[in-house]
Symmetry: C2
Subunit: 649 residues, 2 copies
Amino acid sequence: MKREVSPFVVSPVYAEFVEASNHETATQSESKYMRETVDFLLRDWLKIESLTSRPRFADHSHETFSAVLDTAETIANEKYAPFNRTVDVDEPHTETNADGTLRVILPRATHEAWRAYAESGMLAAAQDYELGGMQLPYVVEAAANMFFSRASISISWALLTTGNANAIMAHGTRAQKDVFAKNEFAGRWAGTMCLSEPQAGSSLSDVATRAVLDDESDPLGPRYRLFGNKMWISGGEHDVTENIVHLVLAKIPDTDGKLVPGTRGISLVIVPKVLVDERGALVERNDVVLAGLNHKLGWRGTPNTLLNFGEGKFKPLGKAGAVGYLVGKPGDGLRCMFHMMNEARIGIGLAAAMLGMAGYEASLQYAKDRKQGRPITGAGKDASKPPVALIEHADIKRMLLAQKSYCEGATALLLYCAKLVDETHTGEAATAADAKLLLEVLTPIAKSWPSENCLEANSLAIQIHGGYGYTRDFPVEQYWRDNRLNMIHEGTHGIQAMDLLGRKVVMEGGKGLTLLATTINETIQRAFHVPELATHAQSLARALQHVGAATKSAWSTGNPNEALANAVPYMQAFGHMVMAWVWLDVALCFARDPHRHPSPRLEGEGAFREGKRAACNYFFAYEVPKIEAWLAVVRSRDMTCANVSADAL
Amino acid sequence: MKREVSPFVVSPVYAEFVEASNHETATQSESKYMRETVDFLLRDWLKIESLTSRPRFADHSHETFSAVLDTAETIANEKYAPFNRTVDVDEPHTETNADGTLRVILPRATHEAWRAYAESGMLAAAQDYELGGMQLPYVVEAAANMFFSRASISISWALLTTGNANAIMAHGTRAQKDVFAKNEFAGRWAGTMCLSEPQAGSSLSDVATRAVLDDESDPLGPRYRLFGNKMWISGGEHDVTENIVHLVLAKIPDTDGKLVPGTRGISLVIVPKVLVDERGALVERNDVVLAGLNHKLGWRGTPNTLLNFGEGKFKPLGKAGAVGYLVGKPGDGLRCMFHMMNEARIGIGLAAAMLGMAGYEASLQYAKDRKQGRPITGAGKDASKPPVALIEHADIKRMLLAQKSYCEGATALLLYCAKLVDETHTGEAATAADAKLLLEVLTPIAKSWPSENCLEANSLAIQIHGGYGYTRDFPVEQYWRDNRLNMIHEGTHGIQAMDLLGRKVVMEGGKGLTLLATTINETIQRAFHVPELATHAQSLARALQHVGAATKSAWSTGNPNEALANAVPYMQAFGHMVMAWVWLDVALCFARDPHRHPSPRLEGEGAFREGKRAACNYFFAYEVPKIEAWLAVVRSRDMTCANVSADAL
């Protein structure tokens, strides 16, 4: 594998230094650490082999799961990791076509990565065999996708196509599945999700794109004409594939030609970039036109677009308006789109966790390689001794252990949630219902917690590198920039918090929260019996009790203004409690439980075991105390922020 | 003033939106908010007019101080703010000279900003009248510089020249002052500080640049020949001025030709880019050559260089080695350089605070302009109503109030420290000694606290902008990138923490900490008498007591390994305690104290007063509880991090 040469270095002295220093980080994707961690979590913690006893996964085994991860790792190492800086520097740009429209130019690496990913079958990994799929559990698909995200988050945009095709599979007609979803699973076409508009970011109520009925009897579904603008559309224009399938949220006007206010009036429409016939053959250009590219802080390899629908550049089928085909029923658009939301949000959490992981591995390697400073001793520092590796300093270890606890913890939580997705699809009725409920409660955490904390991990990775971390000759600054998006897209931090405290913990009379508490309590009970974990079990029990009490206090007046004024601090506290539970549960894998035989695989792995235990101890000593600090304002329904007048700010 | 047009916008629809949205943020530097805040802090809180009773400042008055701030504000608005994005995009780059050396190309705006700054007299603001200075108090100089930092941190590198010249004024010979410092104060030449080397970032013990005696009797000081490389040198090469005065840390070899290990052997040497005669006329090129530019994450407008000294490109005065003139005594280099360290570190804190302030103002304006979503009511959201401004949402207000409390609080602390600098220079003996001690204890906080918390403020400013904040069409992403440097340069976060817990709070038997505690207690006592502040006074008293106890616990075994293992969490807790004190003291300006007449100027300013009180309340409700969370590991001397083995990570 050829190492990418930094496009920035100009000095021979500096170049030599950089070459010597980041040799390992440049090839970090070949490190064993990430794979070992994923293997451990899937096998020893989540015990996913048990899924193979279910009919859908009957052909699978530990070996087939491993083979999928092997393939993902190989492609990620060869086609993604070496080009992560390339796609950041050689940002998507536009050129003008002969017809006056703009086309998006992407680096060759992006095309090749798409091809390799599609050829691996990953686009259809979870689909039925007859659709060309592998019938993989979602948890294995998610684990495999981790390797791509970690290697290059912004080359990893194929996930959007899978999500798009999954939505069509769930709600589309037979013809829509055959024509659109199948071609997406095959990698022939790509897909997008078109929700936001320039004037209405998070507020879908205010969607203004109109879908006017054109022909009810089109074989591809009721045909509409769309007019409007869509903003923040990832992969909205490119020539990586011959066609792009846009899934668009639009409103169908009522008989007076007016749009229904709110989200009830929203419908879901398939709008292909190029119109196709019933066999999927390309026919003519649709009126979906690139209006501009967003120039982002990070995540630059993924083209992010503003699209105009039906502005008049083309007259598809001889008439004005972009041609689209309704999916599901009119007005049912949000439900159809949100069907995929849990998985989409787990995907964001995964992206955040993997950016964190990439930064952790890079800074770990740097800390081992770079010699600087001397340890403190009672007698002061002895400057005549040679400098030691950075990793010998306590504060560097603190920053490494913090990253490890955030990123491995997040990875564990996300794989746990991914397994819950499998339970909802293939578990027995009662298990499936519980899994669905638990997933509802955990999804805002799975999305928000890694977005916030693995971003902080990336900042620590920069800090460990010192000044070098602040340069573009080392990979960590890019991870930090890339990761900043995750608190924004797929529902901002604030929206996740409202979802958690305003909906998820109170729905069905608090049934979801109760189920989570029961699940956490099971872990606490087991840990109470393990001498070295009993104190942590106590801390977690206290945290659980305090989060429960704060939930009650928040809602005690029944006034949503008061309850939700501090939804974000609530979510931060809740997230840390969940992560403490995850770490305690993971640590139990290594516990010397007199009532339980530890897995033979986990015996004797000294450093591996020490690392997990240290990360768990770190989380309880350094992080769990923050829960109380966040809950203070929730408990007291503090209205300092909610009540301050705009003029006073 | 012409508004800078974004170089990124390509779509007319988008361009219109951006134009409409960031009109105000683009001209944010003209907002009154920052000036009002600085005026209030200087006049009503710090009461700096009292300084005019001192002989050195006898010519000054409220009016002359205001005139300086007016000038700074005007130049910053006209010559800095409009080009902050320009210097980020049009990054410094190199071209090759006829003689094979590299020159650095900077945008025209950088040249013009330098000229305007120099012509305003700011470079010599605090100097004696006879040196062409204004004999301004340092606190006024610092306040004036805030406007430049806020307008464009990376155009604001003239501060380095002032710092350099100040060091020469403090330790140089008459000739060195006349030739080098004077030309720097006049803006004819620029200055740098050359400490770090590629192999030894923070570890000055390992400086390897050699200074070999050449001629003891040079009129510009003992002449040495320098050989070595210096890394991270801001302003190390450019043609903004006709010459550059490098202040270089180097080691003079002993009689065996060996360098003394440790920092004791370090000397301070003036190395001009172009050699000059005793009248300051340029003579010939010195052997200081640009080896390369660092390509940074942010702060891109300031060229940051790797310099080679004496590598043989030139033979100044006919011999090998860069020519330099010793400042002070051999081996006294660190002391001479660190003489300026408190002010340099206050400068970093100011940079961080002003980047925070710029982001706060931009996001405040955006939150007022941007309509999105609807408020929560008991009856749910009414989608038929028009969307409200973002600032109507509680969580947006929370993010604004957090920024306000961080950035105004940091500004207040830094001005407080700047006034301490004046006390050390012009106060009566006892006051000066106390001020010096207090400044020693507060400096690590003044540097680290804004670096960490105003960076977080910038992240919140992005969050308020949503997706737009993640694009380069809005200013906030740049502030965040720029601000990330401040935890790294002038002593990393970890180094500040070791300085605080390892040196400052224990020096002279804890005298500095005792003095700080006494100072904080005075505020607590006053606040106890003010009904609306009594609870905060209690919280602060508790925090002070806990920080004191944690300091004792940390050192209770006398083992520095144990004491310092958690120096960073200690510094975080300590910093929050200091900031709580600052806010309580600021709030006292507005207090309805039955024993005290509030300033008439503070009467009736409803919104201004409400804002300060809300920020203070925010800090006590949301931030102060974190102190306990950080102290937990300090108190218990937790060794989880210090003891983990490198293999386990």
